[in-house]
């Protein structure tokens, strides 16, 4: 296929072969846009166009925009698809007390305290630098917990629980490629 259309998250990416002529590109794009599959009632699908390594003439660009504005089926968003955002890391410095639950959707560096009965739930990895006496729960592929000071803590990785953990400097990871058992990493406690 000379023109590929990929559906990525909430937008379409038109990947155009570099060997096609400008006229062929315009015809191909018009055919795709007229396809009923792209016709959605109520909203316009966002579309990005990847022309690869090719020089685009001013004339061609205007012609392309003409096709898109005439058809009114997609929203022209640009020539490059958005880059996926890098996973951010959150720094938390607090005391999580009994009965409190702190949640985060990204990796967390935690240099506070988690008291007994306190919960830290993270969609990602946790690097705990302070004293942990409560519960750390992590979810996600290759999620792991690195902690420096655990005192009778509970660690949970993707629903797998390890209780009464007391050690210094422990790194736990869930190796899903094997049996899925929790493996102990470095430990000097």
């Amino acid at each position: 296929m000379k023109i590929q259309v990929k559906g990525i998250n909430d937008h379409l990416l038109f990947v155009i072969d570099e060997t096609l002529s400008e006229a062929e590109v315009l015809v191909g794009i018009t055919d795709w846009i007229d396809n009923p599959l792209l016709h959605k009632e109520g909203y316009f699908i966002r579309a990005y166009f990847d022309f690869g390594q090719r020089l685009l003439s001013r004339q061609f660009l205007f012609a392309l925009l003409d096709v898109l504005t005439t058809s009114q089926q997609v929203l022209f968003c640009g020539f490059n698809q958005p880059c996926p955002t890098k996973t951010e890391m959150t720094h938390l410095s607090m005391t999580i007390r009994n009965g409190e639950v702190v949640q985060a959707d990204e990796d967390v560096v935690f240099d506070g305290r988690i008291n007994p009965g306190g919960y830290l739930r993270v969609q990602g990895n946790v690097y705990a630098l302070g004293e942990v006496r409560g519960v750390i729960e992590v979810h996600g592929p290759n999620a792991h917990i690195s902690a420096t000071h655990l005192v009778d803590a509970t660690l949970c990785i993707n629903q797998k629980r390890l209780e009464h953990v007391s050690t210094r400097t422990l790194r736990l990871y869930d190796d899903v490629s094997h049996d899925g058992d929790i493996l102990e990493g470095d430990s000097d406690g």
């Binding site: 005391t95 007390r97 009965g99 409190e100 008291n115 007994p116 009965g117 006496r133």
Partner: protein, 259 residues
């Protein structure tokens, strides 16, 4: 303008009421005007512990029902001229009480006193909510056992969520023998877990029980070390830098002939 302090703990039976009464006496003895509020609606205790049970004419229910004014509900202490008690009421339930009543009561007395100490009931339900919502500061009372510290930790989190930033801690019933035998937790455990400034230590002393039963606060018992404990707590509350009381260890003979 009065400092409004709620005395709470979470767990019941740790000694909130005893601490409230004796701290109030210590502050009044240092010439501060103190109003002690019994917020344990339905289970009033402070009037019993202070020996003022027979002096209760009006209580909170009378105030709520409009049978008396707010000033009429105040009971002056027998021993301290500047100490007053607002007793709770056995028949009033939390469902009948409104938070606004409590707030109105506290606001009414704020200009008349230097300290308003609110003795909170145990738990974290309505009674605690009413007491804490009226306060600007908090003192949490904790024993050196796991359950007490855990519950206290929960309460501290709730107090912080209410915006009470000035929270300090009193360790009650401290027994050095238990600490040495590792029967109880240590002071360091409590301060580490709770991460609160230590306002004071109150040692375990049989004089406290006797005093509560007699209706005379232990603060007035010169034989007990607890008087010194509460004196120092009151001074620390006023911003003084005071050493913590050192317990008077019993000699071998004292232990041998201990009743």
């Amino acid at each position: 303008m009065a400092r409004t302090i709620v005395i709470t703990s979470g767990k019941g039976g740790v000694g909130k009421s005893s601490i409230s009464v004796n701290l109030a006496c210590a502050l009044a003895n240092q010439d501060y005007r103190v109003c002690l509020v019994d917020a344990d609606l339905g289970l009033k205790n402070l009037d019993v512990m202070m020996g003022l049970e027979n002096r209760v004419i009006y209580d909170l229910k009378d105030v709520v029902d409009g049978r008396c004014t707010m000033d009429q509900v105040l009971i002056k202490d027998k021993r301290c001229a500047s100490l007053y008690l607002i007793p709770a009421c056995k028949t009033l339930q939390f469902g009948d009480f409104n938070l606004e009543y409590m707030q109105t009561l506290v606001d009414h007395f704020k200009h008349q006193f230097d300290y308003i100490l609110i003795d909170s009931p145990a738990g974290i339900e309505k009674g605690f909510q009413y007491a804490a919502n009226c306060a600007d500061e908090a003192i949490v009372v904790v024993n050196l056992d796991l359950a007490s510290i855990r519950d206290c930790d929960r309460v501290v989190g709730l107090l912080m969520k209410k915006g009470i930033g000035n929270i300090s801690m009193i360790v009650n019933r401290l027994n050095e023998d238990y600490i040495q035998n590792k029967t109880s937790l240590t002071l360091r455990d409590a301060t580490e877990i709770l991460s609160l400034p230590l306002l004071g230590i109150v040692y375990e002393d049989a004089h406290m029980i006797a005093a509560n039963n007699r209706g005379v606060p232990v603060y007035f018992d010169d034989r007990s070390i607890l008087r010194e404990c509460f004196c120092r707590i009151a001074r620390r509350l006023n911003g003084e830098n005071v050493n913590y009381t050192v317990s008077r260890k019993k000699t071998f003979l004292q232990k041998l002939f201990q009743k």
